[in-house]
């Protein structure tokens, strides 16, 4: 027996297998593509709506609203002022519109990730079986090269915003799920027992005890999700998502060094703004843990 050559499947069979799977998927795409597109159409409208709102409103109004929002969440003049300065610089260097598109996309992706991720995290925290089932899926979502799952997404949706959203959400949702799960599991057992002893229902326990105590951890997850969706903007631009990713892609292809650096720095600026803002919010949530009044 030949011990050097690995006993692999015959080429013919391998090709037949690939063709069967590809064929089946193509059929699926033809049969269901329109339906799926219709299902995701509201997301497209939402993204377009936010994009247009940010781009077509007077820039000074947009800046004021963003600054107010950042202050409300972080309650820090420093962060609000820093954000305004950063956005002014970005705008002055001609990247205002792309920055607004990117902010819109990150906002929608984060919203989807939170809406889907927190319930999944809660389910995982309630049941060890669910936890054992979902964890490997999350591992796969985080390690699978994103280009691989871009193939079926593009086959179904073509190029555009929706496939971009899906790709980004797949990549960025695991931290919200994981940290929601972790946060709920970390709630002290004696506090839970007290809730039970006073006759809480499971829903009351979740609403009054588990979620509020897990909230700082969940916020850390949301923060991570925002950072990861920003990291995906360049990849998403390859399938037609407009924003700061596109000029970066163009710069890579044509070796425009300055253009690449400028847009890259704009992404960094947004990342820092969002990170500091959400972190400050997370810290505010933990105020009750501080001693002294």
């Amino acid at each position: 027996m030949d011990l050097i050559r690995f006993p692999e499947m015959s080429r013919g069979n391998l090709r037949a297998m690939r063709q069967t799977v590809d064929g089946a998927f193509r059929d699926f795409t033809r049969a269901w593509g329109d339906t799926l597109e219709a299902i995701f159409a509201p997301l497209q409208s939402l993204l377009t709506f936010i994009e247009n709102l940010l781009i077509r409103s007077p820039w000074i109004a947009v800046l004021a609203v963003l600054a107010a929002g950042i202050w409300l969440v972080s309650r820090s003049w420093k962060i609000a002022l820093g954000s305004v300065l950063a956005l002014l610089v970005v705008g002055y260097f001609g990247m205002w519109e792309d920055t607004m598109r990117t902010i819109a996309m990150v906002a929608v992706c984060t919203l989807i990730a939170v809406v889907l991720g927190i319930p999944v995290g809660i389910l995982m925290a309630q049941s060890n079986r669910m936890n054992a089932m979902v964890t490997p899926i999350l591992d796969m979502m985080q390690t699978m090269p994103s280009f691989v799952y871009l193939i079926p997404v593009v086959m179904i949706f073509g190029l555009g915003k929706v496939p971009g959203l899906i790709a980004v959400v797949i990549y960025a949702i695991p931290p919200v799920i994981r940290l929601t799960n972790l946060g709920i599991r970390q709630v002290a057992p004696d506090v839970l027992e007290a809730a039970e002893a006073f006759g809480s229902s499971s829903w009351q326990k979740l609403r009054d005890v588990q979620l509020p105590l897990a909230l700082p951890t969940i916020m850390a997850g949301i923060n991570q999700t925002i950072m990861m969706s920003l990291a995906m903007v360049v990849v998403a631009s390859m399938i037609g998502v407009r924003g700061l990713g596109q000029p970066v892609l163009q710069a890579i292809n044509q070796q425009y060094f300055t253009m690449g650096v400028m847009n890259g720095l704009a992404i960094v600026a947004i990342a820092i703004i969002m990170d500091r803002t959400t972190q400050a919010y997370g810290k505010r949530l933990q105020k009750h843990t501080e001693a002294g009044k």
Partner: protein, 348 residues
């Protein structure tokens, strides 16, 4: 506005075995399989065995034992936080063990309240919201008003808007007590409620509890590992060891007539003069003999009686419960009762 205890709690033939196949080993344990054997042969832990206890309504029943004796396990059977392997927990015609989840929830909401060793306050809620917690769960409209009342009663007025983390241990447990009392339940479960506190603060909390109980008359089950605490609080004391009930009785009985060597060892260090009452050692007055001039109260503790008698220069006294003559008492008898028999034998 508050409910006194109205029904006794009856714990009947209760067994608790921890392990995946607990149910299969109950019969063997009932037939005499010991804790060690169960552990060695089947790798199951015997938590409680053959517990029979009547918890009288309106009184404080103390369940005492060292760590690992099963006392915290036992108290959790009363509100169904732990399900027994066999046995019943009866209250007002209901068996807590067989309640449906909904019945159990209502029972916990309406009939019981619990105070925990490590306070178990909700760290993200203020004192006021913590005390109102049990009422919030029941969706009670006047939760806040009631919570304020109990915050006042435990002496925490002015601290309503503090977070638990900002309070000392003693104050946190006052919040825990107020939270339980605000629930206005007949049964109050206190799981080593004062064990985590400094001795002085513990005494303080005991006084608060006794004072409130004077008026509230709740059915209180109090867990402790501290005999002094048990004797001070308990109308009835049950001593647990390795999951089995060693002795049940009031403080006097346990101190004067320990059921076995284990309990005798336990009560050795107790200050007997502060526990034993005059009526306990009074001897019936002999017919025809003249009664002593001096009178002491039946429920006075011996150290007080001895002090009063010595001060007055009397060696004999009559013991009266109100108008009723209980018997007579003399100084030698008092001294003998105050000295631990074990110490008296060894110190010659």
């Amino acid at each position: 506005m508050n409910k006194a205890g109205t029904h006794d709690i009856e714990i009947r033939d209760l067994y608790k075995i921890f392990g995946p196949e607990a149910g299969q080993h109950v019969e063997a344990v009932k037939a005499g399989l010991t804790k060690a054997e169960l552990n060695d042969r089947h790798n199951h832990v015997l938590g409680l065995q053959d517990i029979n206890l009547t918890i009288p309504h309106g009184r404080i029943t103390v369940i005492m034992g060292l760590s690992g004796s099963g006392k915290s396990t036992l108290i959790r059977h009363i509100n169904g936080l732990i399900q027994p392997t066999a046995g019943q927990v009866l209250y007002d015609g209901m068996d807590v063990v067989t309640m449906t989840p909904t019945q159990l929830r209502d029972f916990r909401r309406q009939k019981t309240a619990m105070v925990f060793q490590k306070f178990a306050l909700l760290p993200h809620r203020t004192v006021l919201r913590n005390v109102a917690y049990g009422l919030d769960i029941r969706g009670m409209a006047e939760a806040e008003e009631r919570a304020r009342h109990w915050i006042d009663r435990v002496g925490l007025q002015g601290y309503e808007d503090y977070y638990p983390r900002q309070l000392s241990g003693g104050m946190q447990q006052r919040v825990g007590l107020a939270r339980a009392l605000a629930n206005d339940a007949e049964i109050l479960l206190m799981d080593e409620a004062f064990s985590a506190l400094d001795p002085l603060i513990r005494m303080d909390m005991q006084s608060i509890l006794l004072e409130l109980q004077q008026e509230l008359r709740k059915t209180i089950i109090f867990i402790t590992h501290d005999l002094d605490e048990a004797l001070r609080l308990g109308d009835k004391i049950a001593i647990l060891r390795d999951g089995a009930m060693e002795q049940v009785g009031n403080g006097q009985e346990i101190v004067l007539r320990p059921a076995n060597a284990y309990i005798a060892e336990f009560v050795r260090e107790v200050n007997r003069g502060r526990i034993i009452e005059a009526r306990t050692i009074a001897t019936p007055a002999t017919q025809g003999r003249e009664l002593p001039d001096f009178t002491v109260k039946a429920r006075s503790k011996l150290d007080l009686v001895a002090r009063r008698m010595t001060k007055a220069g009397m060696s004999e006294a009559q013991v009266r419960d109100g108008e009723v003559l209980v018997g007579t008492i003399d100084l030698p008898a008092i001294l003998e009762a105050m000295v631990n028999p074990a110490d008296a034998a060894s110190d010659d």
